[in-house]
Structures are given as C-alpha cells and as structure tokens.
Symmetry: C3
C-alpha cells in the first residue's frame, strides 16, 4: 500500500482526444488527481490550465469563454491562456501581477492532445512520435476513449501480455491457441520495451482474414507491442500468405495509451490505423467501435475484477506466480518503478544542490 | 486537513423549521455529527433528545410516542422529555436513576426551532433575535430548508460576498454590475460582522421593481448582511425612488442560517419577510420557492464545485487570492476560527481549574 | 474501534445453503474478507478454494469448469480442487509444484455447506450437529439466506434476546407481553450458552395456534435459544395445552447462523423444521418466506439503525445500559471475545515454540 500515488511526472500523457475538445467549449479532465481545463484558443491551438480559480477555487471549466480568455463562474475574474488575471470586476479592479493559474504545456499530435504535468520545463524531445498513424486517409484511422476504475498498470499488463487474446476474447481476435505457448522475443531499451510473437494459423485471425487473398488458408502472423514511457503501447498486428515478407502484410498499427486519473482510475485511449479497406468510412466506424466494445465487455471486467482482488496492495508484494507470458509486462512494471525512482532521486539531488 | 471537525459549541443553531416538526411525529436530524430527536410535547413545545436509546443504541425516532414519552422501537423502553427512563418492561422493571438520554435545550422563535448542542448550560441571552421576521401577516413571510454537502463556511462565504449576484444569478437579482465594483462598508463587533453596499441602478433590481412607483426608472438601492455567531446572516435589501430615505424603501428582511450536519454537510435554512404585497398568499409561495430554487440551481452547484476542488484542505492553507469582495467573508471566517479557539481555551482553563 | 477485524478462526461457518451451489456453476461468496469459490465436483461434493488465481489475481469464479478443474478467465490456467495447477498453456507449459491456490475444507450437512477458514487443520469434531433438522419430510423444512450490512454480533444479540419479539414484530409472533418481563434461565458451557423462557398466553402465539386443539384457549409456551461458537443459534419454540408436557408440544426447531462477510457485513442463514403440517409443501414455502420477510422488514431495519448509530465503536466501550434481557446476549458477546483471545494466545504460544 502506498501512502501517496507516484507517477512518472516528466513525461507526456494523453489528456484528451483532439475530437473531445471543440472550438467553443471548456473541457475538464482530472489527471493525476488534478483538475485540468483544456480549451482551444481562437487560433485553434489547445490551452491547458489548472481548472481552479485562484480566488475561491471554482472550476473555471464551469465558467465561460471570452475570446481567448476564460471567465470564472463565481465572481467573474477572467484569465488568459498564460494563467494571468486579465479582468477583475471587483473594487478598483486591481490585477494581480504574474501568473496566477497554473498552466500545462500541450502538444496536439496524432489525434491526441498530449500534456506535460511536471513542474519542470517540458522536454519536447519526449513528445511521442507515432508517424504511421498520420499516413493515410481519415477513413483509415479511428480513435476512442474510455475510463476504467483501475490502476493504469493493470491496462499496460493486459496489452503487454497478448496471450490473453486466446482466453479473454471471442472468435474475432483469437489466435486459436497459437500465440499462448510462444515465448515472445523481448527487446529492452532505457525507456522502451518491446515484445514480438510470430506464428501461423488457419484460418487467419478474423480481423485480418477477409482482406487476405484466400481467407480460409493459413497465413503467417505477427504481433508486436512497443511500450515506451510513461504509458504508451504501440501495437502492430499483421498477416501475410504465400511466404511473402511481413512488409507485405495486411496489418493495423495501433496506439494504446493510459493516463492516470488517480491511483485507481485510468483514462484509456486508443487509435487504430490500417493498411486495407482504408477508404471505407462505414467499416472504419465499425472497426473502432468493435475494438472499444471488446475492451468494455471482455478485457475490462476481468481487469477490474483483478484490481478488486488486489485492492490497494502492491502487485509484487502479493507474490504473483509469474509465467513466461509475464516476461514483457513485468519488465514494464519494473521499468516504470525504476524510472519513477530515478526521477525522484534526481529531484532530491536538485533540491539539495539549491 | 483537520483531525476532528471543530464547531462553536456554545451557541444556538437552527435545528429545524417549526413547520418540519408536527404535533405527532418523531423528527430526526443529524447535527454536528450527532442524531437529534425532536418532537412536540402535548403542550406543543419542542423537546430535543439524543436520538439514541442508551440500551442498544436504536434511534428513538424510529419508535413511537406515548403521551409525552417516547418508546424505543427495539425493546420498548420509554423515556420522558427530560431523558429519564420511565418504563422498563423487562424483568422486574427496575428504572435506572437519573437522566439516561442526553437532552438538548430548544427555543422556538421566528419559525425556527433553535438548539443548544454544548454540554455547558444554555445561555438564553444568546438566542438570536430577529424580531422583524415576526412583524406582519403570515402571507408576508416564507421559510425554507435545504441540505448541501459542503462545509457551512462555504455558504456563509457566499452570502457575505454579495458581488456573486452579478455573476452567478440570472436577470432577476442582478445589480447589472453596479454592486461588484463597490467596496462594502464593513462594521465589526465581537461576535457580529456586517457589510453594506449602496448603489443606483436602472431599472431597479427585478425582485423589487414591480413594487416601486415607476418600475423602469432609476432607484437608490442598498443591501446589508449582518453575520452573527455562529452562522446566522440577516440580509436586508431595499430600493427607493425620488430621493426618499431608505426607511421608505420597498424591501425584504431575510435570515439565512446554517447548521453543520457534519464537517462536509450543512443544513441551510432561510426566511424572508417583505414589506410589500404582504397579503398575497400566492405571491408569498412563489417568492420563497423562487429563492429556494435560485440557491439550488445557481449558487448551490458552484459552491459544491468549490468544495470538491478544496476537498478536505483548509481554506487559508490553500493560499486564496483575496480580493476586495472578500473583506467581509474573510473576516467572518477568521472570527469563527477565533471564537472556536477562545471557547476551547476557556474549556481547557475550566478543566485545569477543576 | 478495532484496527483489524477479529474472528474466531478455528470454527465452522455456514458458507452457503446447499441449494445455492448447483452442479455446474462456480459460486462466489466473500467470507471474513476473503473471496471464496465453491463448486461441486463431478461426485457432487462441494469444493472450496480461494477465489483468486495466483498468477494475476483474477477471480476464478469468473472462469469456467473443465471437469473437476476450474479454468482462470484471464490466461487459461487450470486448477484442480486441491489447488494444484494442472494446466498451463503458456510457454513450455511448466506446472508449478504443489498447491498454488488455497483451499478450504467444506462439510455439507443439514442443507448448509460449512467452511473452515483457519490455516490450522480442520477439527471435524467441531462440525455443528443439528440432527433434528434432518428428521422429517422435505416439506417440513425450509432454508433461507440474506445479507445484512452489520457486524454479525448484532444479529446474535437479536436472537439471544427474544424479548424483542414483543416490540419489533407484529401480531404473528408476539407473546402479548408475556415474555418480556421474564428473566430467562441461562446455562453456560465453554463454547455454548443457552437461554430459556416459559410462559402462558391466550390466545397462543399465532405461528403455532392454528395447530393446537383449541386455537383460542390458553397454552403453555417455551422458547429456547442455544448459542454455540462461533455464531450458531438453535432456537426451539413450542406450545402445548391441557397441562401436557413440552415433549408433546406443537413446535418448530430452527437454526440461525451468521457468517461475517467482513467486519460490517454478515451472511445470515436460517433453517426451520416443524413437527406439524409437515406434508404441506405450500405451507412450507409460505412459512420460510414469512420468516425471511419478518427479518427483512422488522428486525433488519432496527438492527441496521443500531449499527449506524454505533458506527465503528465497540459495544462495551459505548457503555450500554444493560437490562435483565441482556443476560444471554452479553454473555455471548463476552464469550466470543474470550474465545478469540484464547485462540490468538494459543497461536502466539505455538509460534513462540517453533
């Protein structure tokens, strides 16, 4: 049991889908325990602020827009996107000097709005780069969002151990038991860990089969998950027939990314780009809805039940019986723990040096 | 964050509207964390007791009346209004000596039942006196009650800083921005703090305009709030035309009073007496309903959102950005804090002296 | 307030009604804070296991049966009823040695499945024996179950002090005030305490009157409750006319038994066997439903209200005003406390000796 939730702070987290924040409204999402207001300036660029008026602590998201400024719903103070107070209707209207509302650097990329929650200056080199998501028509990519009352690591565990597809999911994405016995090839870097499985199955996995030349015949398959800190997992899955290389595969390129709402609640986003049937808008809508629904009805309940069994206990303290399929997710859990510790140690050193 | 909620104990709080406690039923309300039973004796006078049988701790309010006594629902013990056990149907029926259920002094006044929760003897000189509430016909006064899941100070803040009317409320009680820039005149006494604003607006404030000679023309306005410990705010608002004195004003005389249910829940009562259209029962019903609904739909949601942002943190510890409109409410918060401390220090001195 | 709930561990508790666990399904019930899976092997005998996969902590009850084994819903591990892993579809399929899921000894008797939750070996001599429940036709016995958000001692209190029937219950089981003034005869043994009341009433108690020769005439009555550790109360109630002995009585033989779900939630089971109108299936269904409904609508709300008033405070710390009717329930509370202490002291001695 931890006294205080610990997050990797110097990192970019998905705060919202681009489509969740429109041109006129004030959008609120709690991230790592803190209310965040996101809205688009008149130039369309997203602005991120602490969703709390510094006067009486009303959520600014319940106020209204005044051009690029936001007006508090309680006593009418107005703030610009830099967190300065630009209008005070009270008394002589004195404006406090300097920034009075915390702001959060945002970057919009790949259909997501990414946020930097640390107090330290943002490191733009760390902005995630998933360029393939942007390559292709709008009808070839889908995005979705859901909220789950679990620690974010529980979702990372699920995606880093794809053996669960044979047990949790129905006909549509099973490998018919081919993947489960495989020990994935795992590659580790400092802030990234990947796992890859390759196998043959007949018929091919049903999400890809209809797009292969002979949907009933065997196909070579691969699936690869690339975790990178803090909580992004890029997943590619493909199938190919007739001994062609995987670069010829019918495949999809997905991003799963998790953002802690708090210690036991997670914002879970994903995006999926495919290289087949890319111009079919109707199929595109069906595809992302099917992925969303599979998580809600199949993965979600089991992950939630595991969390309920674990309560507030630490995963490793519970002495789990680890199997070969835990190789990648356990490395990710340990790496996150180490990166948080490294960040906190560096913070203490910096403080001591001051 | 406080370990234990702290209240000013030696004070009279509104426990109920007179109309909430009828001649026959047992009425329960939790006050400062304690279940309180209120019922009327056969003489109509309200009786206040700890709503807990001393035997097995059943709430007496779930039992029944037997004349002026109340009978426990679980094992049939009966208690009189002084907290003595007057009937024990068990075994030889031995009655315990003395008072076995705590009682609370009550005073009924101005359409409220006031309660003294302290262990010390009640100080009847402290019973609130709002005589103007009683002056006029029954069709000229309304009372209402609501419960809000916030600390009671949040509601005092709202009423002591009336600048919010220009931002939170709609057309009906806005001052059209005239009040917000004013710095109120604040008067402090030991257990009372008042604030007063005066201004001109055209048209006059819409709750009063229809009762002025020329509803479209400018009028002189005033509003005054008189806080007194622990949590009463008497508010008067009036408007007058043609340079007449405020003693000629079309006005209303209101009482807002808060009683902590617990640290983060408040019983909020108010009463309103007006000096115009006093004999119109239909208008009277409309008037109190409109005030009730304005709080529920306009003030309430913002106050609640502020409380949620504050969580269990202390207001001053959160380093609020204070403005001129905070003059009165901040003085009230500080005075309540000081009065609680004074009371506790006196209690410790008294204990030490024993 | 206790830091950790304390239970008498080396004891048999009712885990389920026999009828709750069918031949095919996986049944889950939380007992003393722990998820327990119960299912029937192919021989029909109940199997009890910790409802938690040792791998990722998924509840096995959300998985499925494979013969006598249970398959985890998350990653397909299979376990037999002894808690051994018998199938691992991952990697090389290595099976961990030995028992990896905790099991709980179960005994099925009197229409209940009894569970031993202690780590120590089960003591089969302690299995409750209520042979009269088994004597007679199936249409002469009923069983029921309900869950109540109270500490289990609150329900024991209720049944051990039957004076409540005159106050809590309606016409159907009142003694018309005859029982309340009686001081029961209490007999104490080491792990058992009984209380007995005898009285005359006219008309006889209405649950028995219709089965007496002259339902309107006076009858001799008795009721006896026999508590035995940890939380079983066997209750017999009977009536007889014309000076015949109680062995001739029209009577019913009931078992009330409580199992803590956790400190403030209780599984409450009861069974009732009668010696009259035994072959009437319709009456039998009516009878158990009436008993169930009486608890839900009459005892339950008062017990719950008492628990809410008590919060997490200890009963004795609250300084209850004890009466003659508390003789038996207070002895039971003290005995449970002493038995828990005795068990814990013995455990510490055993540890020290190792």
């Amino acid at each position: 049991m931890t006294d205080k939730p610990e997050y990797l702070m110097q990192a970019w987290y998905a705060a919202a889908l681009s489509s969740e924040v429109d041109e006129t409204e004030l959008f609120r999402r709690k991230i790592m325990g803190k209310g965040v207001l996101i809205y688009r300036g008149e130039d369309g660029k997203p602005i991120g602020m602490h969703d709390r008026c510094p006067h009486r602590f009303a959520p600014l998201s319940q106020g209204h827009r005044d051009g690029d400024n936001v007006v508090c719903p309680y006593h009418g103070l107005a703030f610009n996107g830099a967190g300065n107070c630009v209008h005070n209707p009270h008394g002589r209207g004195t404006l406090p000097k300097g920034q009075v509302v915390g702001t959060f650097p945002l970057v919009e990329k790949h259909g997501f709005i990414w946020i930097w929650m640390a107090e330290e200056a943002p490191d733009y080199d760390l902005v995630p780069d998933y360029a393939p998501l942007d390559e292709g028509p709008a009808t070839g990519i889908g995005h979705t969002y859901m909220q789950m009352p679990v620690n974010y690591r529980m979702i990372l565990d699920n995606v880093m151990d794809l053996s669960h597809v044979d047990h949790v999911h129905g006909e549509i994405i099973t490998t018919r038991g081919q993947l489960t016995p495989l020990i994935p090839k795992v590659v580790e870097e400092d802030t990234a860990i990947s796992a890859r499985w390759e196998w043959v199955q007949q018929p091919p996995i049903l999400i890809l089969a209809p797009f292969l030349a002979r949907p009933e015949d065997p196909a070579d398959h691969y699936v690869q998950v690339n975790w990178s800190a803090p909580a992004n997992i890029q997943l590619s899955i493909g199938a190919v027939q007739d001994g062609a290389g995987f670069d010829q595969a019918v495949m999809q390129y997905d991003l799963h990314t998790c953002t802690p709402e708090d210690e036991f609640s997670t914002h879970y986003f994903f995006a999926t780009r495919r290289n087949h049937n890319e111009d079919d808008a109707e199929y595109n809508a069906f595809k992302i809805k099917a992925m969303h629904d599979a998580f809600i009805t199949e993965d979600g309940p089991i992950i939630l039940a595991c969390q309920e069994e674990m309560g507030e206990d630490d995963f490793f303290d519970m002495n789990p019986m680890l199997l070969s399929n835990d190789l990648a997710p356990v490395k990710v859990r340990r790496r996150i723990r180490d990166l948080i510790k490294r960040e906190q140690d560096a913070g203490q050193l910096a403080e001591a040096a001051e």
